[in-house]
């Protein structure tokens, strides 16, 4: 990982994929569906925010566990900055979702189970940063926030993927049905959508690694 975050190939890949997503996402033929109309294209920009968030928060929790088994400032910095960018993606997911919902569901916030659950999930992660800020001692901060991180991720998964499915939701793929079924996407949409997921996630990781490297330099200079 230390070597990989300084390599250029995957960053170039991220930009190339995003270039494809912007062009294909705006220009390719999309199914003409009622209510959605042209806004179906938002799929390639709104949903990858959540994929990116989950992947970044997963990376964060992996480094939190690593930090508990072998404590080091490096593991703590990785964990913190992955969470940081992950939450930024989550906030953008909520904002873009509200803009989309205003057009398709009639109001930006309709207390949809998935909207509420994702808002709660983001708030739980906000508390993670407040918790970190409230502890002076570096070792205690790293340990306690790592434990909290694990709890936060453990509650985020049922909040986003299980609870909204137990009830009716305006989101596709909810109300008893798995997220990826034949009804939501077809192969044409999938081609751009999966590229968007990979592209956006790589962009997220890129920004996170810059923040990580900045913190690592800062950590060395402080000593």
């Amino acid at each position: 990982m230390d070597k990989l975050i300084r390599k250029w190939w995957w960053k170039i890949l991220a930009v190339v994929l995003m270039l494809y997503v912007v062009c294909a996402g705006l220009l390719f033929d999309v199914p003409r569906l009622v209510i959605l109309n042209e806004t179906i294209r938002v799929l390639h920009f709104h949903v990858p925010m959540w994929f990116g968030m989950i992947l970044l928060l997963l990376a964060s929790v992996v480094y939190a566990i690593k930090n508990l088994s072998s404590p080091s400032p490096k593991n703590d910095i990785y964990s913190l900055e992955f969470a940081n960018v992950g939450v930024a993606f989550g906030v953008m997911g909520i904002v873009t979702g509200m803009i989309w919902a205003n057009f398709t569901w009639g109001e930006p916030w309709s207390n949809d189970p998935k909207q509420n659950a994702s808002a709660i999930g983001i708030l739980i992660y906000f508390a993670y940063f407040i918790l970190r800020g409230s502890i002076e001692d570096e070792n205690t901060k790293a340990r306690i926030s790592a434990v909290y991180n694990i709890f936060a991720f453990a509650i985020l998964i049922p909040l986003l993927f299980i609870l909204p499915r137990l009830t009716d939701s305006l989101h596709p793929g909810n109300g008893g049905n798995p997220g990826f079924n034949a009804y939501d996407l077809d192969s044409k949409l999938r081609k751009v959508f999966y590229t968007a997921v990979i592209g956006w996630s790589l962009i997220g990781f890129w920004i996170a690694t810059i923040r990580i490297r900045m913190r690592l330099v800062q950590h060395v200079t402080e000593q």
């Binding site: 930009v15 220009l27 003409r32 200079t221």
Partner: protein, 95 residues
């Protein structure tokens, strides 16, 4: 008596299951499988005129420009951090 209670129980389970089955099939009807017809469905309004006039390329150009601009910015940040890393490395070597 016991027998009929048991039967009632079985009946209610059967009714419940059938109800569940029908409700899921109702769901399936609400769900819409995307196929070729949806791509040709002219009754749904899309930005066809906007595209025909080629104005969509203005939007594409703006978004590509934004992407390019932000990429340039992030690349510069990446290079700046790499520079700092090198400086720290050199400093540690000298010590």
């Amino acid at each position: 008596m016991l027998q009929s209670n048991k039967m009632k129980h079985t009946l209610s389970i059967a009714l419940f299951t059938t109800g569940m089955f029908f409700s899921t099939s109702l769901w399936a009807q609400e769900k819409h499988k995307i196929d070729e017809n949806d791509y040709a469905n002219q009754s749904v309004e899309m930005a066809d005129g906007f595209r025909a006039e080629g104005k969509i390329y203005v939007v594409v150009a703006v978004m590509v420009a934004l992407l390019g601009g932000f990429t340039f910015y992030v690349v510069r940040m990446d290079m700046k951090v790499a520079g700092l890393e090198k400086k720290v490395e050199e400093f540690l070597h000298r010590k």
